[in-house]
Amino acid sequence: MEKIFIIDDDEMYQMVLRRTIGKINKGIEICSYWDGEEALNAVMNMFENNEKKPDLVFLDINMPVLDGWQFLEELEKYKPDVREHLNIYMISTSLDSNDRQKALQNKNVKELLTKPLSIQTLKDLTCGGAM
């Protein structure tokens, strides 16, 4: 595990996640984005420049400009085989069953994880569980 994308407008949670992952593996590069549009631009640049792809993407649902679902739609327009390239995990404080259903039906989403992510979950994801 070398690189993780965190796409979340919650500055506080970004910081918490960054620190927690750092505790698990200090060597992982973490890239943070504050909204969907910013993250979309970064991903598109990455594909265009053939940069190293992230091993994991944590994607928040509720964000300004482009929310998590819109991000996925736009990305799929650009890269139809998203799933082949990115391991995307939706993260949200939402307990809404509609969100869970929507995530299950979206082929580009591995899973919807409810915040807060426990250290064990993060360990499982970063230590090969999700790879």
Binding site: D10, E11, M12, Y13, M15, V16, L17, R19, T20, K23, W34, D35, E37, E38, N62, P64, V65, L66, Q70, S92, T93, S94, L95, D96, K115, P116, S118, I119
Partner: protein, 671 residues
């Protein structure tokens, strides 16, 4: 005493019959007499005269033979004489005797008796002479010759006597014959006279009878026939009574009375037809069935009409209460008839011409095409016409909601002939419906807000809880005091965020619970200037240009705090999200939009040349809580949410037009 027409006719015909019988009897009598005279003449007088003339010829022949026979020995003369005296003479005498038996005149009978006696003596003398001549002695005895000469002389005398008698009797008979012929001629003349008289009498009687019949029977009957024939085709013409006692007079006067009765009944019926049930008339008699029926009909109609009037009154009252009127229109005539309630709903009075065009002209412009479409739909589907629309009442222009239900009738070609239906004033129920819809929308909106609020609560509050929980985990896991200190600082920060969120939510709750907001007339320009004043430092900082084009005369009914908040929020956003490459410009205008003749509303328009918003992407969540669109970390996503709420609370609405990179225009509709 009444002299009937039948009696008059009977007298006339009796006269003709009697005249005919009398003349017939006379004719028969005369014919009988004539026949008897003719018979006597033909069977008595004429044969007698003929026999007498034959006898006289024979007599002359005897006379001639008797004078000469003595000297003549000619057997043929003797035989001829004997044939005459033995056969022809007696035969003719017998015929004459038979004929004479029918004679009526005594002198003639006497003369005939003398002739007969003389003839017999002549025959006797001839026989005697014949006997003497046939005796041979005679020719030798002078005495016998003398005797024969004496007989011959005597016979000659007898023949001479008989000649005179024959002449006398033939004269008499010829006179008789002439007399009889004269008598027959007279009888024939009499017969002709009788026949002529009969013809004259019968002709005169018939002529006068015909004149009488024509004057007294045929003409009046023809006149009555004309009247009756006219009546048969419904034409009733009054005729005058006449002064006649006979049946024709009675019939004429009866028809006069009947016509008078019919005219009375016609007038009576016309009055009933006009609804005048107080009209009355006298029955022609107790048996006047038609009159009785008409009076019964009048009473029935009076009751029915009274009942109908009562029902009509109730119907009108019911229509008035239900605010439902009815109408009827023959489309080709382009006019309509309507009930009082219909007129009252549309505000129609006598000055309104009830044409379909004028009715349509009362429909408010925004509904005209709707009504037309509904009409076309009903026509195509041959179904009922159903439409609800607003009309401007005649003269007052007051708006009323009406609901129209109409049914059409069609001709064989499928064209509309008539339209009948009802028009109901549904203004009150429509107002209730609108109010109800409004309440429903408010409830829906409140529900949506509640859902949104619960979502916010679940998401945002949970977000802070998650952060705090995560930070606490990190605190537990911290490996140094420095790290613990850092995490504690973050915990403080999370706590402040939580407090901030709670504060915001509190504001929303407070705003949503705000009832009975104070609303009053506000000078819009003053409020805009006030907001610009508050924003002055930011405006100067960004070198922005804010132009207030709103005129001082624009006064709106609004809650002043909401008005300030709304204006401040839009100007604040316009400055905050200005485009970095150009001088920020904010233009504020206000104009009036007319909904119809009587209603209009103000539109406050705030335009900027800022960053703009991608409407395709964000349009649907523009006014949502905690929604931000420019990636500005200071944005809290509360401003537009609050502003929209305040605008709607004032009965208005807000629209937005924006293009990313070019600018945004907000239009606030003020009720």
């Amino acid at each position: 005493m009444k002299q009937g027409i039948a009696r008059k006719l009977a007298a006339t015909y009796l006269t003709i019959i009697i005249a005919t019988i009398i003349s017939g009897a006379f004719c028969l009598y005369v014919l009988n007499k004539n026949q008897r005279a003719s018979s006597e003449m033909r069977y008595v007088t004429l044969p007698s005269l003929e026999y007498l003339k034959e006898m006289k010829v024979l007599h002359q022949e005897v006379k001639k033979l008797a004078n000469t026979w003595v000297f003549i020995t000619n057997v043929r003369d003797q035989e001829r004489l004997l044939t005459i005296v033995n056969n022809e003479y007696p035969q003719l005498l017998e015929k004459l005797s038979t004929s004479a038996g029918k004679w009526t005149d005594d002198d003639e009978k006497f003369l005939f008796g003398s002739i007969t006696t003389t003839c017999n003596r002549i025959i006797d003398s001839v026989h005697k002479i014949t006997v003497l001549l046939n005796s041979p002695e005679t020719y030798t005895n002078d005495q016998l010759v003398d005797q024969a000469a004496s007989i011959n002389s005597q016979a000659g005398k007898l023949i001479g006597i008989n000649d005179k008698l024959f002449d006398q009797l033939i004269d008499t008979k010829e006179q008789n014959l002439e007399s009889q012929q004269n008598s027959i001629g007279k009888l024939m003349n009499l017969l002709y006279l009788i026949i002529a008289l009969t013809i004259v009498i019968v002709g005169s009687v018939s002529f006068f009878s015909m004149r009488f019949s024509k004057k007294n029977i045929v003409s009046p009957l023809l006149e009555l026939n004309h009247v009756i024939m006219s009546m048969a085709v419904g034409k009733v013409v009054a005729i005058e009574e006449i002064d006649r006692d006979d049946e024709i007079g009675q019939m004429h006067n009866a028809i006069t009375k009947m016509i008078s009765g019919i005219i009375q009944k016609v007038n009576f019926s016309e009055q009933i037809g006009k609804g005048n049930y107080d009209v009355d008339f006298k029955l022609l008699s107790a048996n006047d069935k038609l009159g009785t029926a008409l009076l019964t009909m009048r009473d029935d109609l009076r009751r029915s009409t009274e009942s109908l009037i009562e029902q009509d009154r109730r119907l009108i009252e019911a229509q008035k209460i239900a605010r439902v009127g009815n109408f009827y229109s023959v489309l080709a005539e382009r006019v309509f008839q309507s009930s009082p309630t219909f007129d009252e709903i549309l505000g129609i009075d006598d000055t309104f011409e009830k044409t379909n065009e004028n009715w349509v002209s009362l429909i408010t412009p925004e509904f005209k095409s709707v009504v037309k479409e509904k009409g076309e739909e009903a026509f195509k589907s041959k179904s009922r016409f159903l439409a609800s629309y607003i009309i401007n009442r005649y003269k007052t222009q007051e708006e009323r909601w009406v609901s129209v239900i109409g049914e059409f009738t069609y001709d064989a070609g499928g064209n509309i002939v008539t339209m009948f239906g009802t028009l109901q004033d549904i203004t009150e129920s429509k107002a209730l419906e609108i109010e109800l819809n409004k309440s429903y929308n408010v409830a829906t909106e409140q529900n949506r807000r509640l859902l949104n609020f619960s979502y916010i609560v679940s998401h945002n509050l949970r977000m802070h809880a998650v952060n705090i929980e995560s930070l606490l985990s990190l605190l537990d896991e911290s490996e140094s005091e420095e790290e613990s200190k850092e995490v504690l600082e973050l915990l403080h920060k999370a706590s402040r965020h939580l407090d901030e969120t709670l504060h915001n939510l509190n504001e929303v709750v407070a705003m949503q619970n705000a009832l009975n907001l104070e609303i009053g007339p506000q000078v819009l320009k003053d409020h805009i200037d006030h907001a610009i004043g508050i924003m002055q430092s930011q405006i100067e900082h960004k070198h922005a240009l804010v132009v207030n084009n709103v005129k001082e005369k624009v006064i709106v009914n609004y809650n002043p705090a909401y008005l300030d908040s709304i204006i401040l929020n839009f100007i604040s956003n316009a400055i905050k999200y200005s485009h970095p490459d150009r001088q920020p410009m904010v233009t504020i205008d206000c104009f009036r939009e007319h909904q119809n003749m009587t209603k209009s509303k103000w539109i406050l328009q705030i335009s900027d040349n800022g960053l703009g918003i991608d409407m395709k992407r964000h349009g649907h969540k523009l006014f949502g809580m905690y929604k931000t669109f420019h990636g500005n970390k200071d944005a809290k996503g509360m401003g537009l949410f609050m502003t929209k709420y305040q605008i709607e609370a004032m009965g208005g609405d807000v629209e937005v037009e924006s293009e990313s990179g070019k600018g945004t225009t907000f239009r606030i509709y003020i009720k």
